[in-house]
């Protein structure tokens, strides 16, 4: 039933504005891939192209090896879940869920049976006769999910499905969505701007920017080993320090940043280090100390994070954000050393 999705070199325009550029994406059978990015990055455009609501300028979309590119939207057989639920307000919950079956010529007992089974699965069995207006946000999204799943589509797509729900429900619902998706093994594309949501729900995540995929990887890889500066910033590496290697010795590699700041980095911990690179560090990845060797810094604003104090630091290598321990708060204007913590830092090769 479920099928692999293949997007091949898609370019798309709104009028004369290019919104997607040569975008390719392969989603394996049963896999859930998220498209993650800020608004305007092209993630919803990609979804609408696959759904058939937009036509690409060039490129090809295949589902299970079949070319979809010029197929009308209503013949694509793709389940869609929308941000604002998009339930039919004039139809009961059961008729909403049964709508897709009706279009496929399934009626009578067969339809009722499948609708009821699906309502049962999303925990809405007693609500079949209600109108969507009488449901809560979470219930509405469950109906939308049931409506998309009941047609057993080879591909399921979500467009910011949880954005209109409150925080607690959002977490519950995403677990529920993931469980349903896994149980059915439905190939899925999930569009969101919420990093936590994308990382928690996906097999792989495509981080998008300006109509292109910046990196497509598992959440773990994205979080620990971003491939470029954009993704590094996106996943929370606040500090990007451009460096050049000045010496390679037994203990490690000595590299220099702006302002003559020198650091020695262990190849064991950082892997292969090219001659020119960017050291990316989370705030947690720059330890604020007073003793060790490190980047000399003057501490600026201090903010309380609950698990640590965060300092805005002035250094010869530029402005950096670093976290220090709660046990010993330091005052504004104090001098300190910032030491990279390898587990919270990564090396970015030049782009």
């Amino acid at each position: 039933m479920t099928q692999a999705l293949s997007i091949q070199s898609i370019t798309a325009h709104y009028g004369t504005t290019k919104v997607l550029e040569d975008l390719s994406l392969e989603v394996a059978e049963g896999e859930l891939v998220s498209l993650l990015g800020a608004s305007g990055c092209g993630k919803t455009t990609t979804l609408r192209l696959v759904a058939g609501f937009l036509e690409p300028t060039s490129g090809k979309i295949e589902l299970g090896g079949k070319d979809l590119t010029r197929l009308p939207a209503h013949q694509r057989n793709i389940g869609l879940v929308f941000q604002n639920y998009a339930l039919f307000p004039h139809l009961s919950v059961a008729d909403n869920v049964g709508f897709g079956l009706k279009q496929r010529g399934i009626s009578g007992d067969a339809k009722t049976k499948r609708v009821n089974a699906m309502l049962e699965r999303v925990g809405l069995a007693p609500f079949g006769d209600r109108l969507p207006g009488a449901l809560s946000g979470g219930q509405k999204q469950r109906v939308a999910l049931a409506r998309a799943l009941v047609i057993e589509p080879p591909l399921l797509m979500f467009d910011e499905p949880l954005s209109n729900l409150d925080a607690k429900l959002r977490v519950d619902m995403r677990v529920e969505i993931r469980q349903l998706q896994r149980a059915n093994g439905t190939t899925s594309v999930y569009v969101t701007h919420d990093q936590e949501e994308a990382f928690s729900i996906s097999d792989r995540v495509a981080i998008m920017h300006a109509g292109r995929i910046m990196q497509l990887d598992t959440p773990e890889t994205l979080y620990q080993r971003p491939a470029n500066a954009f993704v590094a910033r996106f996943v929370g590496f606040e500090n990007l320090i451009p460096m050049t290697v000045v010496a390679r010795g037994g203990a490690g590699v000595t590299a220099e940043a702006a302002g003559g700041v020198r650091l020695t980095l262990s190849q064991d911990q950082f892997g292969a280090i090219p001659d020119a690179f960017t050291l990316a560090c989370r705030a947690d990845g720059l330890a604020v100390t007073t003793s060790a060797d490190g980047i000399p810094a003057t501490l600026g604003l201090r903010t309380y994070l609950g698990r640590a104090y965060q300092y805005q630091c002035d250094t010869p290598a530029g402005h950096l954000t670093a976290n220090g321990p709660l046990t010993r708060p330091l005052e504004i204007g104090a001098a300190a050393k910032l030491v990279p913590v390898p587990e919270q830092c990564t090396i970015l090769a030049p782009e």
């Binding site: 694509r76 793709i78 389940g79």
Partner: protein, 262 residues
């Protein structure tokens, strides 16, 4: 709990009501008068002027003509206006801004000018039959109302609902009828009533387009008044009011009048 209401406010409210309802009461009174001229308060009570409407062949004929024209022109305006309103809302971003203004234009142009230009261009130039010119003229007259009212109810419509239906396998055109129309039903009914009443009441366009043998009720009322100053016109007016009340009552019973306030 009582709240004191300022006496001036009460006086003003009463005045406004008199202003609104007074003419209707006067017309009703005049229609029931037994005299052979228009007068108020009525002298004597009689229904003979109501009878008179149906005895005068011109009234019988023009009532039918007016209803035919109102139904046809409202129908045409809906057939043109509903898809137009749909397109104007669905593709608001892609379409140029002046396009929606174009559909309001017939309201902005003085009706007399509209009537005259229709006479000159449609009736005289193309020798269109009187009835056809009337239907076309009225369609044009009521189209802006249809487009506006339908647009207003489409403004609240979430077009992703339409996309949801399409994604579930319903073709575009079918979706328009099964999903979109049921959700703007009250707007369509409101547009129908507004357009229908506008057409029934129209004088300024009809006066240019009516001709030998074919006239509408308001034009016939005018013509009748010029010759006879009897209560028949008042009776006709009461009939028209009754018709309107009946329509409104039917709407209230089926839908509630609240959608007019939306």
């Amino acid at each position: 709990m009582t709240r004191s209401i300022h006496p001036v406010l009460i006086a003003l409210t009463v005045l406004v009501f008199i202003f609104l309802v007074g003419p209707l009461v006067i017309v009703l009174g005049a229609a029931l008068s037994d005299t052979s001229y228009l007068t108020f308060p009525p002298q004597g009570l009689s229904l003979r002027w109501f009878e008179n409407i149906f005895e005068i062949e011109a009234f019988r004929r023009t009532i039918v003509t007016s209803l035919e024209i109102a139904f046809l022109s409202t129908g045409i305006a809906l057939v043109v206006g509903v898809p137009a309103a749909y397109a104007l809302n669905r593709y608001r971003i892609q379409l140029p801004g002046w396009l929606s203004t174009l559909f309001i234009l017939p309201v902005l142009v003085p009706e007399l000018v509209l009537g005259f230009s229709l006479l000159k261009n449609v009736a005289t130039q193309f020798h269109a039959p009187i009835f056809v010119s009337l239907v076309l003229g009225h369609s044009l007259l009521v189209l802006p109302y249809v487009v506006r009212v339908i647009s207003a109810s489409l403004a609240a419509f979430d077009f992703s609902i339409e996309e949801a239906a399409i994604s579930l396998g319903s073709p575009r055109l079918k979706t328009f009828f099964t999903i979109l129309l049921p959700n703007v039903r009250s707007g369509v009914i409101a547009a129908f009533i507004l357009a229908f009443i506008t057409s029934i009441n129209d004088v300024s366009i009809s006066i240019f387009l009516t001709g030998p043998g074919i006239s509408t009720l308001p034009i016939q009322i005018l013509a009748h008044m010029e010759q006879f100053f009897d209560p028949t016109v008042a009776s006709v007016s009461v009939l028209l009011m009754g018709l309107t009340v009946a329509v409104m009552a039917a709407v209230e019973r089926t839908l509630g009048l609240t959608f007019f306030a939306k």
